[in-house]
Subunit: 378 residues, 2 copies
């Protein structure tokens, strides 16, 4: 493993949830950022014992005023200088607005030096047709996103933000057009598209896969990310990356994706052939850069490569992790393992634990993944 | 850099402070633990904007009940199984007692399987003759330490815990005897001893250094750590490691030391020639193991090697980091750099920032340090 970090010195303010045990929110983002060489500040919006997928959780949330106080604390000690900001889960509309004020202040401070600040916003609101935050969080994000440089909604969040129901490729494109045009958002990646997306190379007469690796995709179900960096006249430059999905439910994948995007976007722009991009507001590429040559596409390829490797390792270890957890609990209680296996609520807890993303022992997957899934023009 | 972590799978519960910006408490411990391959749970006892050395800070502390609630949250989801625990700064005596109850529960749960749980306790109370916690924290620690497997006091904290004033080698030995015997503590490392400590090899007729590297020590001021693992009849096995100190004030070194000790102690015991140690309560070595052959001594050597490399890198970058911070602030305010340099309070803040430990870009120093300073029998 190369001991050199992949990015130049980069200070990132990460605002998201914290869990004592497990890997979601800032608990995963901070490790990803640090282990890839960023100096990461961690403003934790909640401290919970574990993620909510377990079904049981204890802990505390920060009030909007407490978020603002921590930011004021940074400012009064001159610790408020950041190259990038990543915002994830924030409890409540007032909290979202407080985080938005931080981003706007950082953006205003960087106005005289284009490209010196970049805000990656993960608008955590819901998934699969269901909103899991308070209703007023949606308009709070809608009034904020035009300040963001890159947003990372899932398919449902993209619908909420754009007001466009996504049912096919055409409506997906329309949603991205609205986000680029109405909200003026420079970069968009929709992180989990379950529609069949046809890449430009997949014409009716040419449906064969574009690489040997991608030829293996039909053996596993696939999903896509769809990304776009707008042109100077607010038109999309669309690309898609298809990747296989594992038959398991993981928490924290969105947070891992977002933190990796921060690093890989920085890397792609800093070491791009086109040096001017990093000194351009919002790191917008010149109009003649093709969709698949965008730094955003380069970054997303590397991000998905790391994600795939981490998820594969996690999947590999799940059966033994679950089995060990069952044995441990049965021994502690002095009962047979069959007793534990018969308790569905207990098994849900132990399965949730076994599905926690395995990062700490797989540093190589984060730092030097092998790119297998390539961006294609849509 | 080797991509294999140095320890077998190890789950650690780390209880300490959290800062948004900078590197102290859990902010440094969690990264150290994770980047060396441990699965680290982070129970943050405070969330402050920055460490208190800046002189200005905002944020919140957890009440003792909130600490207990988070622990109850872990228990109700069966996430309360840990191989090791590291406890650092806890605000107030009630908080210390709450953390003590967690450690005692973990210890009781592991009673039937000797060596399956190990508590590293950093009794954060003060330094250089000054207590910086509430007075009732001292008796709270005194009533807890006999449950710990390894304690990491500095010289002043060792005095507070043992009741022995440390003025020379003899009184230092006496303090360690009291901690081993009265409090039954298996392993002790006193982390910053500024007394001249004479190693066994330094008899009046033989004061030359024991290695070429150590011969360079006279060019820099030195300090020592002094460690001991007790024998079966509660006698000390004392060793010392002398190391050079940098002419700068760093925060978080104690927290980095403690987190590295967790990992390196686990490594030293897991991969020891004497396999039985890891299955012995408190990882006590057989009585015939010499002081300098103790896993504790092996671990401390590696810890100090990482510390020295990280501090050297931090020192190297301090002048440029300070200069960049001054330029940034002057530009933002639209004033000359001399204006900033003339403000002593501002300069204290910027110097504190420049002295933040540089970890994220120096992963190799954490994972594969070069051992230069060796343990010697006292």
């Amino acid at each position: 493993m190369n001991s050199q970090p992949p990015v130049p010195e980069t200070s990132v303010l990460a605002v998201a949830s914290h869990v004592v045990s497990g890997h979601v929110g800032n608990k995963i983002a901070i490790f990803v950022l640090q282990s890839l060489g960023c100096d990461a500040a961690a403003l934790n919006t909640v401290q919970f014992s574990n993620h909510t997928g377990y079904g049981r959780v204890k802990g505390t949330k920060l009030a909007a005023q407490e978020i603002t106080d921590l930011w004021d604390g940074l400012k009064q000690s001159h610790l408020d200088s950041f190259d990038m900001m990543l915002s994830g889960y924030v409890p409540g509309a007032a909290g979202v607005e407080a985080v938005g004020r931080i981003a706007k202040e950082l953006k205003a401070g960087a106005a005289s030096k284009p490209g010196s600040f970049f805000w990656v916003l993960d608008p955590v609101m819901g998934d699969n047709g269901k909103i899991y935050v308070a209703e007023d969080v949606v308009p709070a994000y809608q009034s904020l996103i035009h300040h963001a440089d890159l947003i990372l909604p899932n398919q449902f969040e993209a619908e909420l933000l754009s007001g466009v129901g996504i049912t096919d490729s055409a409506s997906l494109e329309r949603a991205i057009e609205v986000l680029h045009d109405t909200y003026n958002i420079p970069h968009i990646v929709i992180t989990s598209v379950s529609l069949p997306i046809r890449s430009a190379s997949q014409t009716p007469s040419s449906t064969r896969p574009t690489s040997p690796t991608q030829s293996q995709l039909p053996t596993m179900p696939t999903m896509s990310v769809v990304g776009s960096t707008r042109t100077s006249d607010h038109k999309p430059r669309l690309f898609t990356i298809q990747f296989p999905v594992f038959d398991a439910y993981f928490s924290g994948t969105g947070d891992m994706f977002a933190a990796l995007m921060v690093v890989r976007m920085r890397e792609a722009v800093a070491y791009s052939d086109i040096d001017s991009t990093q000194h351009t507001a919002s790191w917008l590429s010149p109009d003649d850069v093709a969709p698949t040559d965008l730094p955003l596409a380069r970054a997303a390829e590397k991000v998905l490569a790391s994600m795939h490797e981490i998820l594969a390792r996690t999947c590999e270890q799940m059966p033994s992790a679950l089995s060990a957890a069952i044995t441990r609990l049965a021994t502690r209680r002095g009962v047979g393992e069959d007793v534990v296996r018969a308790e569905s609520e207990t098994m849900h807890l132990l399965k949730s634990q076994a599905a926690e993303l395995k990062l700490a022992r797989n540093l190589g997957c984060l730092r030097e993944p092998t790119i297998e899934y390539r961006a294609e023009k849509m």
